[in-house]
Amino acid sequence: MNDIAFGYLLLAIGIVFALGVIYALTSHLGSAERAKPKVPRGVHLPNPSPLPVIMAVGGALLGAGLAFRGDDQPVANPWLAVPGLIVFLYGIFAWVRAAGREWDETERGPHDDDTGH
């Protein structure tokens, strides 16, 4: 069997699988979350964040840059590695900034869960 054909076959299977997953998720798993009560007092959970997926994409681009290095490129493929590095560094910067903001809130900010502290 031809390699490229196999690659496309897997891609097609992946798309079908992803559609199946999307169907499953939209039918039941999401709905339980929407009608949720308030978090009990004293419990602090972190906010959702796009940074994990952003940093993972950055890391993958960097890695792809290393793998797809052309013969005339000494270290990595700049078309992939440079965007990857930018995304990754942005991710670190944003992560630290978010952590600092959360520090501000827990250390100094208002608490609206009336735990008394």
């Binding site: 390699d3 994990p52 290393l66």
Partner: protein, 554 residues
Amino acid sequence: MATTALSPQSKSYSRSWVVEWLTTVDHKKIGILYILNSFFFFFAAGILALLVRSELAVPGLQFLDEGTYNQAFTMHGTVMVFLFIVPVLSGFANYIVPLQIGAPDMAFPRINALSFWFLPLGGILLFAGYLFGGAAAEGWTLYTPLSGPTYASGVGTDLWLIGLLLVGTASILGSVNFIATIFKMRAPGMTLFRMPILVWTVLVTATLIMLATPVLAAGMIALFIDRNYGGAFFDPNTGGNPVLWQHLFWFFGHPEVYIVILPAMGVVSEILPVFTRRPLFGYRAFVFATIAIGLLSFSVWAHHMFTTGQVFLPFFSFMTALIAVPTGVKMFNWMATMWRGSITFATPMLFALGFLSMFLIGGISGVMLSAPPLDFHLQDTYFVVAHLHYVFFGGSVFGVFAATYYWFPKMTGRRLNERLGKVHFWMHFIGFNLAFFPMHELGIQGMPRRIADYSPDAGWTLWNLASTGGAFLIAASILPFLVNVVATFINGEKVGDDPWEGNTLEWATSSPPPPYNFDKLPPIRSERPVFDLRHKHDAEHGAGERGLVEGDHR
């Protein structure tokens, strides 16, 4: 503000489920993502296995050439180990461990999410080789010098290395997360020796991941340097040592197989007490056996290298046989748990029993291989393929299906259909044995592994044909499973907090749990807090099976 982030009015709460799942840091959603992603790769690697088995069914190259065949078995092994079995167990652990210790989430929720997202991306890089001249094709163990720049000049092997470096990094971060969570976030009353066995196995597994995976990373980076920057780690022509790769790979690779089996053992240890209505026999022995397996796993790696002639055989042979002892202790304890129990043969229990029997066979063939006189004949034959599938598949994958049927109600609020579950189990069990038992005999008769074709005069044809039949039966068994999952999502039997009458804390909250996990925790006085709550009267008055009294556990 953190506490209002999850209430419907919060501005960080999104109506779009795509954004919700892409940005979640909730261990339950991340666990589900891990499980779904892993099953996708399970099916992909399964298709690769069917390709291999189809080609091998009869002598002659039917429809694959050697190069494509090599890619098929390489990617099959790689994807199964790194993108299916470890992540799916990690996914169950992610979902269940915080619940079982009474915590609101993992210690580092954002890093938890980061660890997940590396997986699909690493997998894409791995498979990208197919689109660029061929994926890696040197076996999942990628031995040098075959995997070096001279003989594997395509980008597929580089993509393998980079993809697994990403996946390995994710794994290491995840292990740090688990260890920190287990040590720092247990609910009051949950002492270490009241933790469920699953939590103990995850703790030891995470320690193994944390200590072993970096060594693989070092080796993979070294190979990448050899392949791309003129390095001389492994190429004898430039001063390198090919056997060094084997040492670095297997120093990771052996703990890796315990990383694969320990969580599955934990799952079985959760399921047996519930479906036999007995406490787990020898809780402390389980804990110490798990720790012993973890420690010993670092001392046996060279049993994969007996035939290199560069290994001190007596030491590694002895240590390998020794590691069977704590494993045997666990086996006896599981048997003792079931002895005189009132057994319910629900699907999770069937898969747990399948685990016990199949893993026993795999363990025995492993001990056989620990003897160099046997290993010298059986190394790189189908006997090893039989052994590894009995422990990986007969062990861990049975454990994964047991976990799936057991915790599906907790995760979705609906129970999978029992009838379809039993059909799935029996097709799977029969198919599995038909596929892999003949391989023992093939190996003894000398059939080497990783060959695309064999002679019609070898006498191997019948067993190969049987094995291929078994493989397709396994594939067919996925059908009732998938139908079951989809049908249950659409219209399955709804259940409450505790459909199985479980023992551990995850059954003390709703199905599925709220984002913060628990409204109220029951008192934790033993390793079975929900059992205790259900039998509050008995516990208060000191009755109970085998003298399990409140306050008995420190």
